[in-house]
C-alpha cells in the first residue's frame, strides 16, 4: 500500500460520501461580533459584559458572552489592563463549575438522626440565630466566631464584618487570607506603615532584573508570567526556590537554596551590598530608619555562612549580588514560599530591606512585591473588619472606633475594643471549650488547615457549626450542623481588589441554583433574624455598601473615594487605589512610594530584622526528609471545591495525590517510578504515587496542596507576627509500599 495514497475526491452521492450534515454543523463557527471573532454557532452572544475572574489575585478581566442576559460562554477581555485578553484554564472554565450537581440549593440542617435534611431559610436562620444567641447568652460574646474567605467581594466581607461585630456583638473572626497573605500584610504594615503592595503589573514589563522568591509564577499566576514575557528589556530573571520549577527553568539564575535558608541568604546579600558600597545612602537617609542597626546586624552573614547554610556556590551568590548591584531596575516578587513560613514576616522584610537599601522602590520596574493568592485577599484584609478595624484601622484605638462609628452612623459602643483571635487561636479556643459556635464562609478548613486531623478533631467538638458554601460536599460542609447555600462568582455583584490594588467588578450573569443566595443577602438575612437589621438599612445593595466602604477608605492610604460607582470601575477597566476624590486621575497603572514617603507617621520605611531560626521540626534519622508543599498545576485551585467540578480541568492534572522524589532518593529507598509510597510525619501518613524527578533535590519531597491528604502531614507551626501557618516545610519519612 502506498502511504502517499490519499483519498481522492470524486463526486459521490451524499449517502456514500457526506461532506456536510448535522454533525458537521455542530462544530461550525460564525462571527461572534462584539470584537469576539468566530464563535460556536450555538453560543453566539447577543451582548457581552466584562467582569473580573474570581479565583486568584491576578484579577483577570473576563468577557462574559450573554444570550438574553444569561451567560453562555466567556473569553478573556482584551482591553482589560491586567490580562490583555488572556486567561488561565481556571478562568476559561469559570462558568462550568457553577453547573455542578453538588451545588447547595437549599439550607440543610442536621436532624436528630444525624442526617442532613433540607429546610426552609426561615427554619435554618431561626435555628442558627437561636443557637448563636444561646451561646452568647450563656458563654458571652467570645463564644461564637467566624472563619471567612478571600473569595467573596469586598461588599460582602464588609457587611459580614459589620453585622457580626457591630450588630450581633461578637468579637472573634478570621479569614483564610491568614493562610496566604497575612505574612506580607504584617511585613508591609511594619515596614511601610500600611498593608500596601507598592507595585503595578506594568512593573513586570519594566524591570531589568526580576527576582522571584518561593514563587512558581508560571503555574500559580500564568497571566503574570505573560507580563514577564512581554518585558522587552532582556531582563535577568532570578528564581530562588529549592525546586527546579517551571519558573526556574525560565530563569537566567536559579538559586536552588536549601529549604528555609532564604533569610540567611538575604541577610548575606545585604551584607555584601553594603561591603561593596552598592547601596543608595541618599535614599536610605531621606526615607528610612534603622539602617545602621541593620548594617551592624548583617555583619556576621558572610559569604561563607550563606554558602554553608544555603548550599549555593560562592559564585552563584556573587552573581546574584552583581545583578542587584548593577541592574538599574530590580524588582523582588514573592509568593507562598516566603509567606507560609514560621519566619515569613522577617523573610519578607529582609526582601523589603534589600529594595529599600538599593533604592529599588517607587520607580518603574522595581519594588518589594508580594504576589497575592486569592482574588480578594486585599479586600478581606482592608475591609473585612477582621484583624483590622475597617480601612486598616485599629480596634484598640478609641479615635479609630469613634471615626468608624461616625462614618457608619452607629454607636461607638457597638465596636469591640479588643482584637479578634487569629485563625489558629480560634481553633485553640474551640479546643479549650471557650468557642462553642463557628460560622465558616466560603473556605474549607477541614481540608486546608495545617495538621488536618487535629483541625478536624477540633471542628467536631463544636456545639454548632454553620458552613456557608456553594457546594454541600466540601470536607467542612460534610461536618456541618447547618449548611447555608451560597450563590457563587457570576451569580452576584460586588467588587474585589487584586494584587496590584486594582478594584474590579463582579457581575450577576448566571441565575443561582435553587434557593441559594448571594452571601450578601445571607448576611442581610442573618442581621434581620438577629434583630439588628435596621442597623444595616443603608447597606441595601452591594453598590450601596461599596459607597459605604469608599467612605470608610477616605483619608486612609487605601482611599478610593474618588471612584464614581460601579459604572466608573467598569468603564475604566478597574481602578487602583489610591484614588482619593481630590486627586483622581485616569492613569491605568499606578504605583506607590514614587515620592519616597511611606505610611508611618514620620513617612519613613523601617529596616526590620531578626536572627534566623532553625526549622521548628528538625530532620531526624526517623524523619529525614523535608516535605515541601505548594501548587500542583494551573488547573487546580486550593482545595478544589470548584476546579474539580469541570470535566476539562480534571483532565489537566493527576487525579490522586503524588509525591515528587529525587532519583537518588528513590533508588536508595527501592522506590520504582510510579509505584505507591508511604509518606509519614509525626502527625499522619498518606500513600501517594512516586513521581521520580531530578527537579527535586535530595532529601526533599514535594506534594501538591490540592489533595485532601496532604495536610495530614503538615505541622501546626506559625509565624509569630502574622500567625500564618508554616505549610512549606516539615519532617517526614518515605518508604515503598510493599
Amino acid at each position: 500500500m502506498s502511504r502517499t495514497a490519499l483519498p481522492s475526491q470524486p463526486v459521490m452521492p451524499s449517502w456514500l460520501h457526506a461532506a456536510d450534515g448535522p454533525l458537521t454543523r455542530e462544530l461550525l463557527l460564525s462571527p461572534g461580533d462584539y470584537g469576539l471573532g468566530l464563535l460556536p454557532n450555538r453560543a453566539r452572544p447577543d451582548a457581552t459584559t466584562s467582569m473580573v475572574c474570581g479565583y486568584c489575585a491576578t484579577g483577570c478581566g473576563l468577557n462574559v458572552h450573554l444570550q438574553d442576559g444569561v451567560a453562555v460562554g466567556l473569553s478573556p477581555t482584551t482591553e482589560y489592563p491586567v490580562n490583555l485578553g488572556m486567561a488561565c484554564p481556571k478562568g476559561w472554565e469559570a462558568l462550568e463549575v457553577l453547573k455542578a450537581g453538588d451545588r447547595a440549593t437549599t439550607p440543610l440542617l442536621r436532624n436528630d438522626r444525624g442526617r442532613m435534611e433540607a429546610v426552609t431559610w426561615d427554619a435554618a436562620l431561626t435555628r442558627m440565630v437561636g443557637e448563636f444567641r444561646r451561646m452568647k447568652r450563656e458563654h458571652g460574646p467570645e463564644s461564637v466566631a467566624f472563619l471567612s474567605t478571600g473569595q467573596i467581594p469586598t461588599e460582602e466581607m464588609a457587611l459580614l464584618g459589620a453585622v457580626f461585630k457591630f450588630g450581633m456583638g461578637f468579637v472573634h473572626c478570621d479569614s483564610n487570607t491568614r493562610q496566604c497573605m497575612a505574612t506580607t500584610a504584617t511585613a508591609y504594615k511594619q515596614s511601610f506603615g500600611f498593608d500596601a503592595p507598592p507595585y503595578t503589573y506594568a512593573d513586570f514589563e519594566e524591570s531589568d532584573a526580576l527576582v522571584f522568591i518561593g514563587s512558581n509564577v508560571c503555574l500559580a499566576h500564568p497571566i503574570l508570567w505573560e507580563r514577564v514575557l512581554r518585558n522587552r528589556r532582556r531582563p535577568e530573571i532570578v528564581v530562588i526556590d529549592p525546586r527546579r520549577t517551571e519558573t526556574a527553568m525560565n530563569a537566567t539564575q536559579h538559586l536552588a537554596i536549601a529549604p528555609k535558608s532564604d533569610l540567611v541568604l538575604f541577610y548575606g546579600v545585604a551584607r555584601e551590598l553594603i561591603a561593596r558600597n552598592a547601596i543608595k545612602p541618599d535614599f536610605i537617609a531621606a526615607h528610612t530608619t534603622g539602617f545602621d542597626e541593620f548594617a551592624a546586624f548583617v555583619e556576621p552573614y558572610t559569604v561563607d555562612v550563606v554558602v554553608e547554610r544555603s548550599g549555593l556556590s560562592a559564585q552563584q551568590f556573587h552573581q546574584f549580588v552583581d545583578t542587584i548591584q548593577h541592574k538599574q531596575r530590580v524588582s523582588f516578587w514573592w509568593t507562598m514560599g516566603v509567606n507560609q513560613s514560621y519566619e515569613g514576616t522577617r523573610t519578607a522584610q529582609a526582601i523589603i530591606n534589600l529594595a529599600l537599601m538599593t533604592g529599588n522602590i517607587g520607580r518603574p520596574g522595581t519594588g518589594a512585591n508580594s504576589i497575592t493568592g486569592q482574588c480578594n485577599a486585599m479586600g478581606s484584609r482592608s475591609f473585612g473588619n477582621i484583624t483590622n478595624l475597617f480601612g486598616g484601622r485599629d480596634f484598640l484605638k478609641p479615635e479609630d472606633r469613634t471615626e468608624v462609628a461616625s462614618l457608619l452612623n452607629i454607636d461607638a459602643a457597638c465596636i469591640p475594643t479588643q482584637n479578634s483571635l487569629a485563625y489558629h487561636e480560634i481553633l485553640e479556643g474551640i479546643l479549650r471549650g471557650r468557642i462553642k459556635g463557628l460560622w465558616v464562609i466560603a473556605t474549607n478548613t477541614a481540608h486546608s488547615w495545617i495538621n488536618q486531623s487535629h483541625a478536624k478533631d477540633i471542628l467536631s467538638r463544636l456545639d454548632f457549626l454553620v458552613v456557608q458554601d456553594m457546594y454541600h460536599t466540601t470536607e467542612t460542609a460534610a461536618m456541618a450542623d447547618l449548611v447555608l447555600p451560597a450563590a457563587g462568582w457570576g451569580e452576584k455583584e460586588g467588587s474585589i481588589i487584586n494584587a496590584e490594588r486594582r478594584i474590579g467588578l463582579l457581575k450577576k450573569v448566571v441565575k443561582a441554583p435553587g434557593q441559594s443566595l448571594a452571601d450578601f443577602w445571607i448576611f442581610k438575612a442573618v442581621a434581620e433574624y438577629w434583630g439588628c437589621g435596621r442597623m444595616f438599612d443603608d447597606w441595601s445593595s452591594p453598590e450601596a455598601v461599596f459607597r459605604i466602604v469608599q467612605r470608610l477608605s477616605k483619608g486612609r492610604p487605601c482611599d478610593f473615594s474618588g471612584i464614581r460607582g460601579y459604572k466608573h470601575i467598569d468603564d475604566a477597566g478597574g481602578v487602583q487605589w489610591p484614588y482619593p476624590s481630590e486627586q483622581a486621575d485616569d492613569a491605568q497603572e499606578r504605583r506607590l512610594f514614587a515620592d519616597g514617603r511611606f505610611f508611618h507617621d514620620d513617612a519613613r520605611a523601617r529596616f526590620i530584622f531578626e536572627p534566623p531560626r532553625a526549622m521548628p521540626e528538625p530532620l531526624t534519622s526517623k524523619y529525614p526528609f523535608v516535605l515541601l508543599t505548594g501548587r500542583g498545576s494551573a488547573a487546580q485551585w486550593h482545595t478544589q471545591t470548584r476546579t474539580a467540578k469541570s470535566a476539562v480541568l480534571r483532565k489537566l492534572y493527576p487525579q490522586s495525590v503524588y509525591v515528587e522524589i529525587n532519583p537518588d532518593d528513590a533508588r536508595q529507598h527501592a522506590i520504582a517510578p510510579h509505584s505507591l509510597v508511604t509518606v509519614a510525619s509525626q502527625r499522619g501518613e498518606l500513600q501517594a504515587r512516586a513521581f521520580v524527578t531530578p527537579t527535586m533535590q535530595r532529601g526533599q519531597l514535594f506534594i501538591p496542596m490540592h489533595y485532601a491528604e496532604t495536610n495530614q502531614l503538615t505541622d501546626s507551626v506559625f509565624d509569630p507576627y502574622s500567625k500564618q501557618p508554616s505549610y512549606k516545610a516539615c519532617a517526614v519519612r518515605l518508604s515503598a509500599v510493599q
Binding site: 454533525l23 464563535l39 467582569m51 486567561a87 476559561w92 508570567w225 448571594a518 442581610k524 488547573a635 476539562v648
Partner: protein, 585 residues
C-alpha cells in the same frame, strides 16, 4: 438605633405591605422572598453591557504577529509552530480550544505533555503543548475506510468530515500521536482542524489566540523542508518517529535537551481498552475461515491433481459448513457493534484504494456471500452440487477459502499498519492465521463428531481417517502458536523500557491472570485433549464413543476460550504510540 444589648426577635421580618389583611390565607412575603427574587434578577446587561456594536476581533492586535503574512503557495502548507521556551504548562490552550470551538463535556483537541530529565546539576522540566500535526501523510486518512479525512491541497489542513464518519475508530489506532478523539455520544471521531474557518477569515486558531505566552504560532511550511526535517527523526524527545506520517508541527527551543529526557508518564502503565466487539469479530471470522479452509482441504478434488485421494464433497455433510457460516455471520455482526454508526458501514467500500479496514470489510463481505452459497448448496439443486470436472461447487469453495484468507490477511495488516511493536506483522500474522488453523481444525472435528454421534450424516468412513489427522493438526498448530505468543516475554529482559517490554510487563503484571488462562486453556484444549484423542483406538471413532465426544467437546471449548483470551491480551497489552503525556497517577 442600634443597641449593644441584643434586641428581642424582630417583628420586622415580615415585609407584607401594610394594606394587606393578615387573615388572608396567603403566606406573607418575607425578606427572604425579597432576597430570593433579587437573587434571580440578572441585571448585568441593563447596568453595564455596552458592547453591542460589531467590531473586528479585538484580540487580533496580539495574535496578528503569530499568523503567517501570506497563505501557503504551491508546495507549502499551514502548520503549528510551538516555542517550547515559552510553553509554561498552564494549559490555557486546552481550555480555550474546548471553549471557543464549542466542544462537549470533557472533549479536548489539544493536550499538554511533560518531559523531564537532566542531571542533578541541571534538571529539565519541559511542558509540551500538542494537537494535530496535520501530517504530510496522515495515517488517519490512509486508515479511514470511508474517506472521512480530507487533506486540503491548498492549506494542508487535515480535516475530519464528521458526517461521513462511521465511528470505526481505526484512525485512532493508526495515528501515532493520539490525535483523533472518539465522541461516544455521537458515535463519531472528531479532531482539530487547525481552526480552518478562523484561518480562512484571518483569525488565529483558538489555541494561538489564547496562549498567554505566545508559544503557539501558525507558520507556512515548505513540504520539502518537512520531509528533510523528518530525516533526522528528531521531531521531539519522547515522540513517535516522524518518518511514518511526516508531521508538520515544528517544536523550537534554544535549550539543549539532555539525552535522558523522557515523558512524565513514561513509567505509567497504560492498559489499553479491550475492544470486545473486535475480539469477538477477529476470533470468530478466523474460526469461520479456518473451518471452511479445513473442510475444503479435506474434501477438495484439487488434491487429486497431485495424486491424493478424493473425498466426495457431500461426504462431510452440511454441518461443518453451516456451523462455520453461522459463526462467521455472528462475527461480522459483532464487528458492526464496534461502529459508532453501524448503519453506514456500507460506506466502507470507498476506501478500498488505501484502507486495510476497507479491504477487510469488503473481503469478509464477499467471503460471507460465497460461504452462504456454499453452505446452502444443497438447496440450490443438483447443478451446483454436481460433481465432476464441470462442478461449480468446488470453485465456490475455492472462492470461500480465498476471500476468507484474504480477509484474515487484511485483519493482520490493519494492526500492522498502526506501527505498534506488539502488533507487528509477523507476530500478528502468526496469531491470526494460527487461530484460523487451530479453530478451523477443532470446529470441523467437533462438527463431524457431533453429526456422526447424532447419526445425521454419513461421516463414518471419514471420521476414523480424518479425526486423528485433525487432532494432529490442532496439537501442532497450537504448540507453535502458543510458543510464538510467549516470545514477547523475552522483552522483559530488555534493558530499556521498550514498548515490547511494557507489553511484557503488562502481561506478567496486571494481565497475569488472563495470561494464565490463555496458556492453560491452550495447553489443555489444544495439546493434552487432542493427544488423549490420538491415543484412543480407531474403533472409538466409529461409532463415536462418548469419551471421544466429550474430549472433542471439551477440547473445542477450551481452544476457543483460549483464543478469546489470547485476543483479549492482544488488545489489552499493546502499547500505543503517542506524544509525551503529562503526569498521571
Amino acid at each position: 438605633m442600634p443597641t449593644v444589648e441584643d434586641p428581642p426577635l424582630p417583628l420586622g421580618l415580615r415585609s407584607t405591605p401594610a394594606g394587606v389583611s393578615r387573615d388572608v390565607p396567603v403566606a406573607p412575603r418575607t425578606v427572604i422572598d425579597d432576597f430570593l427574587d433579587e437573587q434571580q434578577r440578572l441585571t448585568a446587561v441593563e447596568t453595564f453591557s455596552r458592547w453591542h456594536e460589531d467590531r473586528p476581533p479585538a484580540q487580533s492586535k496580539y495574535y496578528a504577529a503569530l499568523l503567517p503574512a501570506a497563505p501557503p503557495g504551491p508546495g507549502e502548507q499551514y502548520a503549528f509552530e510551538v516555542d517550547l521556551d515559552r510553553c509554561s504548562g498552564c494549559k490555557a490552550c486546552v481550555t480555550a480550544c474546548h471553549a471557543l470551538n464549542g466542544l462537549d463535556d470533557d472533549e479536548t483537541f489539544r493536550d499538554v505533555g511533560l518531559l523531564i530529565g537532566g542531571t542533578a546539576a541541571l534538571p529539565v522540566i519541559q511542558h509540551v503543548t500538542t494537537a494535530c500535526h496535520h501530517c504530510l501523510e496522515p495515517a488517519c486518512a490512509t486508515a479511514c475506510p470511508v474517506d472521512a479525512y480530507e487533506k486540503s491541497p491548498v492549506t494542508g489542513i487535515v480535516k475530519h468530515l464528521d458526517d461521513q464518519c462511521i465511528g470505526c475508530q481505526y484512525c485512532m489506532l493508526a495515528c501515532p500521536y493520539d490525535v483523533p478523539k472518539y465522541h461516544a455520544g455521537k458515535g463519531i471521531v472528531r479532531k482539530c482542524d487547525l481552526c480552518s474557518s478562523r484561518l480562512a477569515v484571518g483569525e488565529a486558531p483558538a489555541c494561538v489566540q489564547a496562549c498567554p505566552h505566545e508559544a503557539i504560532r501558525i507558520r507556512v511550511v515548505n513540504v520539502a523542508d518537512v520531509i528533510a526535517d523528518s530525516e533526522s527523526r528528531q521531531f521531539l524527545p519522547g515522540a513517535p518517529d516522524p518518518q511514518f506520517t511526516l508531521p508538520t508541527t515544528t517544536y523550537i527551543t534554544n535549550r539543549v535537551f539532555p539525552r535522558n529526557v523522557i515523558p512524565a508518564d513514561y513509567h505509567t502503565p497504560r492498559r489499553e481498552h479491550a475492544h470486545w466487539s473486535l475480539i469477538v469479530m477477529l476470533v470468530l471470522t478466523q474460526l469461520s475461515v479456518g473451518a471452511f479452509a479445513v473442510e475444503f482441504w479435506l474434501t477438495s478434488q484439487w488434491r487429486t491433481w497431485w495424486g491424493g485421494s478424493t473425498t466426495p464433497i457431500s461426504s462431510l455433510g452440511e454441518v461443518p459448513a453451516v456451523t462455520a457460516l453461522l459463526l462467521g455471520l455472528l462475527a461480522l455482526g459483532a464487528a458492526t457493534l464496534h461502529l459508532g454508526r453501524p448503519l453506514l458501514a456500507y460506506r466502507a467500500v470507498i476506501g478500498l484504494a488505501h484502507s486495510w479496514l476497507s479491504r477487510e470489510i469488503v473481503a469478509f463481505g464477499v467471503f460471507a456471500m460465497c460461504a452462504a452459497l456454499y453452505a446452502t448448496a444443497g438447496a440450490w439443486g443438483p447443478w451446483i452440487a454436481a460433481e465432476g470436472p464441470t462442478a461449480v461447487l468446488p470453485w465456490v469453495g475455492l472462492a470461500v477459502v480465498a476471500t476468507g484468507l484474504a480477509g484474515v490477511f487484511c485483519s493482520v495488516m490493519i494492526y500492522d499498519y498502526t506501527q505498534r511493536p506488539f502488533w507487528n506483522g509477523l507476530d500478528t500474522a502468526i496469531k491470526f492465521f494460527g487461530t484460523t488453523v487451530t479453530l478451523g481444525a477443532t470446529t470441523v472435528l467437533l462438527a463431524l463428531v457431533v453429526s456422526r454421534w447424532l447419526q445425521v450424516d454419513a461421516t463414518s468412513s471419514l471420521l476414523a481417517a480424518q479425526g486423528p489427522r485433525l487432532c494432529r493438526v490442532l496439537a501442532v498448530a497450537t504448540l507453535i502458536k502458543l510458543g510464538w505468543e510467549q516470545r514477547i516475554l523475552t522483552a522483559l529482559f530488555d534493558r530499556t523500557l521498550s514498548p515490547k517490554r511494557r507489553s511484557a510487563q503488562l502481561l506478567v503484571g496486571a494481565l497475569r491472570p488472563v495470561l494464565g488462562w490463555r496458556i492453560g486453556l491452550g495447553v489443555v484444549g489444544g495439546v493434552l485433549l487432542p493427544w488423549a484423542l490420538l491415543s484412543m483406538p480407531a474403533a472409538a471413532w466409529s461409532p463415536v464413543e462418548t469419551g471421544v465426544l466429550a474430549a472433542c467437546g471439551l477440547s473445542s471449548l477450551a481452544v476457543v476460550l483460549g483464543e478469546f483470551a489470547e485476543r483479549y491480551l492482544f488488545f489489552a497489552a499493546v502499547v500505543a504510540n503517542r506524544m509525551p503525556g503529562g503526569l498521571s497517577t
